[in-house]
């Protein structure tokens, strides 16, 4: 399985792209449209829809394009309120008090998408004990959030 397929399987779903339209460059994966596929040259820097990359420790970092594709098909999702959303995109974990709605698993260690009140994907995290229990505990540990775009800008 390709790394993005392995990643999707952590959510219990299977995704399949036309493998002829997938290209890899520097351990980054891109999904091309058929027209781009025809004209792409080997030495590209970026192409089509970015799906994610292999990080320095060998783990797969999904793109937000990939997470958006998963919204419609995965079961594990939580919706969080505006204050929790702000804290989440600042890299913080989600506390139970910020969770408005839970869909799918409450089991510790499972992964879940984190959505705002508009149903937009802010990132994903791993479920903690707090999701199924009291208000004061961490419900979802932040793994990746859209604030990463700002952090990348600061790093570069």
């Amino acid at each position: 399985m390709r790394p993005y397929e392995v990643f999707a399987s952590r959510f219990g779903v299977r995704i399949a792209f036309n493998s002829e339209l997938i290209v890899e460059m520097n351990q980054r994966y891109y999904l091309l449209n058929p027209r781009l596929k025809k004209i792409m040259q080997a030495d590209f820097y970026y192409g089509g829809l970015y799906l994610g990359k292999i990080g320095p420790n060998g783990g797969f970092f999904p793109s937000f394009n990939l997470l958006n594709m998963l919204i419609a098909i995965v079961a594990n999702k939580i919706v969080i309120n505006q204050k929790a959303a702000w804290l989440f995109i600042c890299g913080r974990d989600v506390f139970r008090s910020g969770v408005v709605k839970i869909m799918g698993s409450k089991h510790k260690g499972d992964v879940t998408l984190v959505l705002n009140e508009f149903g937009e994907c802010l990132g994903f995290g791993s479920v903690m004990d707090g999701l199924a229990s009291s208000e004061g505990e961490v419900a979802v540990r932040n793994v990746l959030d859209v604030g990463d775009f700002l952090r990348r800008e600061k790093r570069s």
């Binding site: 027209r35 004209i39 820097y45 937000f64 702000w86 937009e120 700002l150 570069s156």
Partner: protein, 295 residues
């Protein structure tokens, strides 16, 4: 030949009285991503006031904001981009972008590339080039954030665009230029006429190379954020006389391109360009070119 007074005198000879400019920040809504999301209302709830820019279809001024417009969830989700108002004009000058093969020849950091992709609704294809690899990192982040799917990026000098062996229906040539004082408070101290002439030379080289990739009925938009005629009207006059191009009239803010520059008379078509002197926006220059058709 440099210094603030030197340039102020030049602008006066070109018909513009210098004044200090305080720019208002502006954004462009990414219509592909923000459709039916009522973004101005969402932003107001966050303390970001917006005001429609009347001369831009998706542009809004940010007259007041209690948070950084570049740090909201809406920005990070690609619902809008921060883009100076005049810089939103060049991509709007093309006709019928949907499904087209487009070259963005000097693309980084990618604000206009994402605008083109948005206007194309991610259809067709964009080939985006930039010579500066470090600027491509920012460009990749822009494309990723805005969920662009129709663009391929190469670390390539626009002067080598023909090595791609592709012909383009539309070419955006937002060439590297000397900039202007509205976006750089040290501009008058830094710039000399020699710099401007060097930039003008590079711009002509880029024009000469890129025109070879333009389809016979294709359109090319040339733009700079320079107020210096060597990078603007004089280059367009040169392109008409040397590259077999004609200049189409464009409909946007600004005054007609100058047809007489420091005593030199230029081709009358140069009046079809638009020169945007700094006022509400930064200074800018735009021109739309096509190949002269053989009769």
């Amino acid at each position: 030949m440099s210094g603030k007074q030197f340039f102020i005198d030049r602008y006066a000879k070109l018909g513009w009285q210098f004044k200090e400019i305080q720019l208002t920040q502006s954004i462009r809504i990414n219509q592909t991503n923000a459709k039916a999301k009522n973004l101005p209302v969402r932003l107001r709830k966050l303390g970001v006031d917006t005001e429609k820019i009347l001369f831009l279809p998706m542009g809004y001024w940010i007259p007041r904001s209690v948070v950084s417009p570049g740090a909201t969830a809406e920005y990070l989700l690609g619902l809008y981009s921060i883009q100076e108002a005049a810089a939103q004009i060049p991509a709007l000058l093309f006709t019928a972008l949907g499904g087209k093969m487009v070259l963005d020849a000097c693309a980084a950091p990618g604000g206009k590339t994402t605008q083109l992709a948005d206007l194309m609704n991610n259809s067709g294809s964009i080939i985006a080039l930039d010579i500066n690899k470090t600027r491509l990192t920012a460009m990749a982040n822009h494309l990723d954030r805005c969920h662009i799917s129709n663009t391929a990026v190469y670390n390539l000098d626009a002067r080598q665009a023909n090595t791609l062996n592709l012909n383009f229906d539309r070419i955006l040539l937002d060439v590297p230029c000397s900039g202007n004082f509205t976006s750089d408070d040290q501009w008058f101290r830094r710039r000399t006429l020699a710099d401007i002439e060097q930039n003008s030379k590079v711009q002509k080289e880029i024009l000469s190379a890129v025109v070879k990739c333009l389809s016979p009925n294709g359109e090319m938009v040339y733009s700079t954020c320079s107020l210096e005629p060597e990078e603007d009207e004089l280059n367009m006059d040169w392109a008409v006389k040397n590259l077999g191009l004609c200049i189409q009239k464009v409909d946007c803010i600004g005054v007609d391109g100058l047809t007489e520059v420091f005593g030199k008379k230029l081709d009358s078509q140069v009046a079809n360009c638009k020169r945007i002197w700094p006022d509400q926006t930064q200074g800018f220059f735009v021109s739309k070119l096509k190949k002269v058709q053989a009769s």
